[in-house]
Symmetry: C2
Subunit: 445 residues, 2 copies
C-alpha cells in the first residue's frame, strides 16, 4: 500500500507544512534542495529524468573515457538521507502562478514556493533540423549518441574500400569553439592519435582530421586572450585544425558548409550554443534572446514573489552589469541562495534579503593530456599545472565517494595507458549513424 495512504495531490494538503516544489534536478535544483535542509518544509523535486548528471565531464563519456554511470546518479539517491524530500520522475508541463499549481501528466501539484531550475538545452539558432546531423552534448543520452557516431566512423573506416570515403569517414567536425568544443576536439584527437591506432589494421586512426569551427575571431572567447592563444597552440600541436572567423551556413547529413566551403565528415558535433529551456511562457513572461527569464536581484520573478528562477534559466546581472555566466558554479550558487532565502522567509524574517551576488569560482577547460587552462580571478594557469588543478577540482566535485574513486582510478589508468575503457557502441540510442531516425533527446536542465 502507499505509505500512510498518502496521494500525490492530497499529501501536501494533509500536512500543514509549507510545500516547496523544485522543477529540475540539475546543479541548481539540487543545491536549492540541499540548502533547504532543516527548513521544516516539504520539498518535491520534479524531473523528467531519474538522474542528476555531472555535465562538465560529459565529454569524457562521449569519448569513451568514462562510463555513463561514473557521472550520473539517481536524484533520489543523492537525496536519500532527506526524509523531507520527495523525488518524482515527472515532467512539469505548465505552471499556473495565480493558482500556485504545477501541471504534470499525472495531475496538478500545488506549491507555496516554486523554484524553476530547468536549465538550458542546445540552440541551433533556428535550424532545429541540424540537431539530427550534429548532436550536441547536454545529457547522458547525448554523450552515448556522440560516442556511437565517433567510434562507428572509425569502425566504418576499417571496413572501407574507397579512399575518398575513407578520408571522409575520418573527418570530424566540431562546431563551436567554446569550452565544450575545445574539450571535445582535444579528446577526439587523443582517441585518434593515441587510443585507437594499435587496434586497427587497415585504417590508420591517425589519418583522422579533426576540424574545430568557430564563428568568432578566437576560440574560448570567455577566457583571457593569452589562454585562448595557449589553447590554440596546444590544439594545433595535437593535430586539430582550428578555423576561426568561420560561421556555419548549413549542416546536412555528413556535410557542413562554413565560410562558403563544404566539408564532408564522418561525424559532426554541435557545441555552438545553448538556449534556455522553454519555461518563460509558463510564467507568461518574455525570455531574453536565448530564452532566459530576467529575475529580480533576489532571483524571484517580477509579479510572482513566490517563484524563483535559478541556474542557466535565470538572467541576472552582476554588480558591474554583466550577466552572470551560465556555469555549474553559478547554478549552484543561485540554488543555494534561493534555498536560504526561502528558509529565511519561512522563519518569518521580514527584512528583504541581500541581493544575489555571483562569486567567481574560476573557469577551467581541459584541452588534452597535461594541458588545461584555468582562470581564477587574476590567476591564470596553463599546462600541467592547470591540468592537475582541473583534475583535482573535478574529482572533488563529483558527488559520491564511490564515483570519485572510480573516476580517479579510470583517469590514472587512462593516463598511464591511453586506454579508454568505455568504448562500446550501443545499438539503439545512436540508432542513427547518418540517417538518424529521431532527434537526440534534449534535456531540460
Amino acid at each position: 500500500m502507499l505509505r500512510n495512504e498518502e496521494r500525490l495531490l492530497e499529501r501536501d494538503d494533509i500536512a500543514s507544512r509549507p510545500r516547496i516544489v523544485i522543477i529540475g534536478g540539475g546543479f541548481a535544483g539540487i543545491a536549492a534542495a540541499q540548502a533547504l535542509e532543516g527548513s521544516g518544509a516539504r520539498i518535491l523535486i520534479l524531473d523528467g529524468q531519474n538522474h542528476h548528471c555531472f555535465q562538465p565531464l560529459l565529454y569524457q563519456v562521449a569519448t569513451g573515457a568514462l562510463a555513463t554511470t561514473d557521472i550520473a546518479w539517481p536524484i533520489r539517491y543523492v537525496m536519500r538521507n532527506r526524509e523531507d524530500v520527495t523525488v518524482l520522475m515527472l515532467e512539469a508541463q505548465e505552471v499556473d502562478p495565480s493558482r500556485k499549481h504545477v501541471k504534470t501528466r499525472d495531475g496538478e501539484i500545488p506549491y507555496d514556493f516554486l523554484i524553476i531550475a530547468t536549465g538550458s538545452t542546445h540552440s541551433y539558432f533556428g535550424h532545429d533540423a541540424w540537431a539530427e546531423h550534429a548532436p550536441g552534448l547536454k545529457s547522458v543520452e547525448d554523450a552515448i549518441v556522440i560516442r556511437g557516431r565517433l567510434l562507428r566512423a572509425f569502425e566504418q573506416a576499417e571496413a572501407c574500400v574507397d579512399p575518398a570515403q575513407y578520408q571522409k569517414l575520418l573527418t570530424f567536425i566540431i562546431i563551436g569553439g567554446g569550452p565544450t568544443g575545445v574539450e571535445l576536439a582535444g579528446a577526439i584527437a587523443e582517441v585518434a592519435r593515441r587510443t585507437l591506432p594499435a587496434e586497427f589494421r587497415r585504417a590508420d586512426p591517425r589519418d583522422a582530421r579533426i576540424i574545430l569551427l568557430e564563428a568568432g575571431p578566437r576560440i574560448l572567447p570567455s577566457y583571457p586572450e593569452r589562454l585562448s592563444t595557449y589553447a590554440l597552440e596546444v590544439l594545433s600541436k595535437m593535430g586539430v585544425e582550428v578555423r576561426t572567423h568561420t560561421a556555419v551556413e548549413t549542416v546536412s547529413p555528413s556535410k557542413v558548409i562554413a565560410a562558403q566551403k563544404a566539408i564532408e565528415a564522418g561525424a559532426i558535433f554541435w557545441a555552438a550554443g545553448v538556449k534556455a529551456s522553454p519555461a518563460a511562457h509558463w510564467l507568461g513572461v518574455a525570455g531574453d534572446r536565448s530564452g532566459r527569464i530576467s529575475v529580480a536581484p533576489d532571483l524571484t520573478v517580477p509579479m510572482c514573489p513566490d517563484v524563483y528562477v535559478v541556474g542557466d534559466l535565470a538572467r541576472v546581472n552582476e554588480a558591474d552589469g554583466a550577466p552572470v555566466p551560465q556555469l555549474a558554479a553559478s547554478a549552484k550558487q543561485m540554488g543555494r541562495y534561493t534555498g536560504r532565502s526561502i528558509k529565511r522567509r519561512l522563519r518569518g524574517e521580514q527584512a528583504p534579503p541581500e541581493p544575489f551576488r555571483y562569486k567567481d569560482e574560476g573557469s577551467l577547460a581541459t584541452i588534452g593530456r597535461n594541458s588545461a587552462i584555468v582562470k581564477l580571478g587574476r590567476l591564470e594557469l596553463t599546462g600541467v599545472v592547470g591540468w592537475l588543478f582541473w583534475s583535482v577540482v573535478h574529482v572533488y566535485f563529483l558527488i559520491n565517494l564511490r564515483s570519485r574513486l572510480l573516476v580517479a582510478m579510470s583517469w590514472v589508468a587512462a593516463y598511464l595507458t591511453y586506454h579508454r575503457g568505455a568504448r562500446i557502441i550501443l545499438d539503439q540510442p545512436q540508432g542513427a549513424t547518418k540517417e538518424s531516425k529521431k532527434d537526440p533527446p534534449t534535456t531540460k536542465r
Copy 2:
C-alpha cells in the same frame, strides 16, 4: 591513406597466407582467434557489434549493479596485441560454401577456413510479438532495456495515485526458471527489498511482488534436484513467488496469462528460451528444433570440411549421447578446439583430429546475497561457500584487469551498502515503457 593501400576484398589475395574468417566475437569466436595465435594465417573477425560481452553478468547490468562498460569491451581491444587479426564491425549476411565467400553489406570476403560462432538469441516459441512486452537478456542493449523498465516501474509507483495501479506497477514477472530467470528474480528482489526502500517516500519498494513462472515441475531443471530445492527455498525467503507447472499462454503489454490466470505487471521479463541464430540456412542445412546446426565430431559441417560451427550454434553430442550444453564454457572449449584443429591442418598434419570432448567445468548460478549454487562434477555447493566460489570465478574470467578491479570494487561496495551504482534510466533504448515502439535488438552471438 589506407595502410599499404590494402583493400577489403583484395588484401587477403595479395597476401599468400591462408585466410580464416570468424563470424561472431562472442566466447567461441574469441577463443578460436586466441587458439589460432602463431598459426601464420590471416584472421578476420566479423561482428555486427563492436564489443564482446561477458554475458553471465548481464543480469547485474540489468539490475543496476554494474555499468555496461564493466562487462563489455571492444573486440578489437581484446585482440589489440594480435597483428594477424583484423576486426570488422560488419554483419555476415550469407555464406557461399561452394565459392568459399562470406557476403556482407560491404562486399564478399573470401575464406580458406570459416568458423561460424553467431550464438543464440531469445526464443519466444513462435510468438515473436511477445518480445516487445517481455524483453530477454542477451546483449548489453537488452540489459539497458530491462534496467530502464524495472526502475521506471518504481518511479511510476512513486508518482502513482491509484492503489490498483500502484500494485500493478510493482508487480514484476519473470518468465522462465532457468539460471537467467533465477538470477534476475533474485537480483530484482534485492533491489526492491534492500537497495531502494530508503530512497522512496510515497511508494514502498518492498511492496513489490516478484513472480517467477516456470512451465516445468521445478526451477533450474539442469541442476540436481537438491540444488533446485535449495534455490527455491532461498528465493521464497527473499519474497519471490515461484510458480512451477505454470506455462505462459499469452503475453501482452503489462499482462501475462499463465495457467489460465491473468497477472498484470509493471514489467515483464523473458528468460524462457533461446534459439540459435539463423545461420543454418546459410549452409543449406536443416537446423534442429532450436535452429542449431548438427556438426561432425570434429565440429565441421558435413559436406563442408572447411567450415566449423562452434558455441551455442553447434549441436554436438557428448560421449554419452547427450548434447553438449549451451554454456560459456562449452563455447570457449569449442572455439579453442577449432583453432587448434585448423592450426594442425595448416601445418599439414593428415591424421584426423581427436573428436571434440566437452569437459564439464561446472555450472553456477547466484540467487542473491550470500547464496549461489554450484555444480562441479559430483561437487555441489550452496550458500555462502557457493556464493564466494561464484564471485571468484566470475571476477577471474572477466577479460581485462581494469574491469576485474572495478567489478570487484563494485561488488565489495554493493555488498557492504546494498547500493547499486548504475541505476540511471536512459531515455532512448528502453524507449519503451509499455508501448515499446521497436523490438529490442537481438544479438547474433
